[in-house]
């Protein structure tokens, strides 16, 4: 123990301040991966606009839900039903259109309401039963996975719904959520814009609002937060709802773009969201992380998906590659975090 109170609190250097940011590991990783694929690329396109359009297309949906999952993980909870929810909402919209020739906007509204309801139920069950959210949302995942297939078979007699583009109002919704825009002769998916927007909003909420403070507090130490008057339960439920709604939003984007949906859509994606969050510096035990980090994590995954075939490597190995990245990134994040915090904790 030292004798004075302030000799141990030397002014943090700019370097330490930067290294303290949770997303710094992911950023360094993303830069390294980008440089690597720029060299191994055989098409000459990876580092150009066309390549960027390719990997941001893959990364945007992972990033959007990944951010919501990151926020939830910062608050100390998981949502394993976030992947299947993408499919559920897409299928609901597709079926409402197929059965009732419903206006697409009304169908989207109903799909979103459903997702909000399931998100609330997830959160409410976790808060009330005090069961681990891992278990509660795993159950939701399987319930929805079964329901997705069963209802689709019941309504269409096959494993997919189609013809969503026949819905009244389809074009306006498509323009907003499913279309592309042109930069320098290259078509970018509009989901890129939504991804950037969600990253910005989530970052602002997390770092600049009281709710963001509560998210960190709920995951950092729920008891201390409660003692300080933070509505921990309400905060967590709100985050479960947000995660479900974000997944639903991605479902909307897919059903509009594909003009239909497979019954199995989204299943397995929940792990990509968690990888994005974890690679981006979100602590699995809660209490630390960032939205930008999750976005960088998603970008890194998008680069791998495009970079591997561009390098003429066997793309069967993509998941293996991601597994190694995940492990390395979390290890490096952990190391940097410890160093920047001065060895404590």
């Amino acid at each position: 123990m030292s004798n004075t109170t302030d000799e141990r609190v030397r002014r943090a250097s700019v370097w330490t301040t930067v290294m303290r940011r949770p997303e710094v590991g992911a950023l360094l990783g993303a830069i390294a991966i980008f440089i690597m694929f720029s060299f191994t690329d055989t098409t000459g396109n990876f580092a150009k606009l066309g390549g960027v359009a390719g990997w941001t297309d893959v990364a945007a949906p992972i990033g959007m839900v990944g951010i919501a999952v990151a926020l939830l993980m910062i608050a100390g909870e998981f949502d394993l039903s976030s992947g299947v929810m993408v499919g559920s909402v897409g299928l609901i919209i597709g079926m409402l259109v197929e059965l009732f020739n419903m206006n697409i906007w009304l169908a989207i509204l109903i799909g979103m309401a459903f997702a909000g309801g399931v998100g609330f139920l997830n959160g409410w069950l976790v808060v009330k039963t005090k069961l681990p959210s891992f278990i509660v949302t795993l159950a939701t995942f399987f319930v929805l996975k079964g329901a997705n297939l069963a209802f689709t078979m019941m309504v269409t007699g096959s494993v997919r719904v189609t013809g969503t583009d026949q819905a009244p109002g389809f074009q306006t919704a498509f323009n907003l959520f499913g279309s592309t825009f042109n930069i320098g002769g290259v078509d970018f998916q509009i989901s890129l814009v939504w991804w950037v927007l969600i990253t910005a909003i989530a970052t602002w909420v997390l770092t600049r609002t009281a709710f963001g403070n509560w998210i960190y507090a709920a995951g950092g130490d729920a008891n201390a937060a409660r003692n300080a008057g933070v509505p921990v339960e309400r905060t967590k439920i709100a985050l479960f709802v947000t995660t479900s709604l974000t997944a639903a939003f991605v479902g909307v984007i897919f059903v509009l773009r594909l003009q239909g949906m497979q019954a199995g859509q989204g299943v397995g994606q929940e792990f990509y969201y968690i990888i994005a969050a974890a690679v981006g510096g979100t602590l699995l035990t809660g209490g630390a992380g960032s939205a930008i980090g999750a976005s960088i994590g998603a970008a890194l995954m998008g680069m791998a998906y495009i970079g591997i075939p561009f390098s003429l490597w066997n793309s069967d190995w993509t998941s293996t590659f991601l597994g190694v990245i995940l492990f390395a990134a979390v290890l490096i994040n952990n190391f940097i975090g410890k160093r920047a915090r001065g060895g404590k904790r």
Binding site: M1, N3, T5, D6, R8, V9, R10, R11, A12, T17, W204, R208, T209, A210, G212, N213, W214, Y216, A217, G220, D221, N223, A224, A225, R226, N227, A228, G229, V230, L283, G287, A288, R341, G342, K344, R345
Partner: protein
């Protein structure tokens, strides 16, 4: 000085278990009231009554002269009764200023764009901690990097800043080394000087004797003894706390073991 709070003939039972019985306590403003007790004496139950977690089964709970009936810790907090729990006071991975304002954030802007006034909060946190004698250059550092004593001090400063008239400290020194304990006791006295009624709950009679103005001894759910500063000595307090004869017997037993 006026009584900040009082318990009159308070009893608390959980089913057939009587946790507290016949508790009469007066806590004065601008004084340190120590509640001493060994493990299982009923200290935790007492804190929970004072901080609004439990309601007494029998008896009166009087705050600032009026009967108090709290449904939640939030109610007690609104009435100016703040509790600093030994391990549950701060969130280690969050910055000092965020910890200081957690649950009471200062906001600016309007409607959906209301956001944290970070600059003001950082300034206030820095000033308030400086007044406590903690000179932090960077309130942005994680509170987990501070020492245990300093973390308690931040929690005390925070409670005071948000209008605590009664400050309950639950075993603030029990997990700390000698020097760190000293720091906490110093802050505790500073709070007293500012007119706060401090309730210091501890099982350490030497810490209590250093700062206390009045001492209540709790044993097996009952008030065993009560001393004022002027009429008690350190060894008396220790003896009374360990149950007098028990301690003598124990001393003899230990000496017997050492003698062999």
């Amino acid at each position: 000085m006026a009584n900040a709070l009082e318990l009159r003939n308070v009893e608390k039972s959980f089913g057939s278990v009587i946790a507290l019985q016949n508790i009469n306590i007066e806590v004065e403003e601008g004084a340190v009231t120590c509640i001493l007790g060994d493990n299982g004496a009923g200290k935790s139950t007492l804190i929970k009554i004072l901080s609004g977690v439990h309601k007494p089964t029998k008896g009166e709970f009087v705050v600032a002269g009026a009967p108090a009936d709290y449904d939640s810790p939030r109610d007690a907090l609104d009435a100016g009764i703040a509790t600093v729990f030994q391990d549950l006071a701060t969130i280690p991975l969050m910055s000092v200023w965020r910890n200081f304002f957690i649950g009471n954030e200062i906001k600016k802007g309007w409607g959906p764009f209301r956001h944290l006034d970070i600059k003001t909060m950082k300034e206030i946190a820095k000033q308030q901690l400086l007044a406590m004698g903690i000179d932090l250059r960077d309130t942005n550092q994680q509170i987990g990097t501070l020492s245990g004593g300093e973390r308690q001090a931040v929690a005390i400063a925070r409670a005071e800043y948000f209008g605590a008239k009664v400050l309950i400290l639950d075993e603030p020194t029990s997990a700390l080394g000698v020097r760190q304990s000293g720091i906490v006791l110093k802050y505790l006295l500073k709070a007293k000087e500012r007119g706060v009624a401090v309730i210091f709950i501890t099982h350490n009679p030497s810490h209590a004797y250093l700062v206390g103005d009045r001492f209540f001894l709790l044993n097996r759910g009952q008030l065993l003894n009560r001393f004022e500063r002027d009429n008690v000595q350190m060894d008396e307090l220790t003896k009374a706390m360990a149950g007098g004869r028990d301690l003598e017997t124990l001393t003899q037993e230990i000496e017997a073991v050492r003698g062999r």
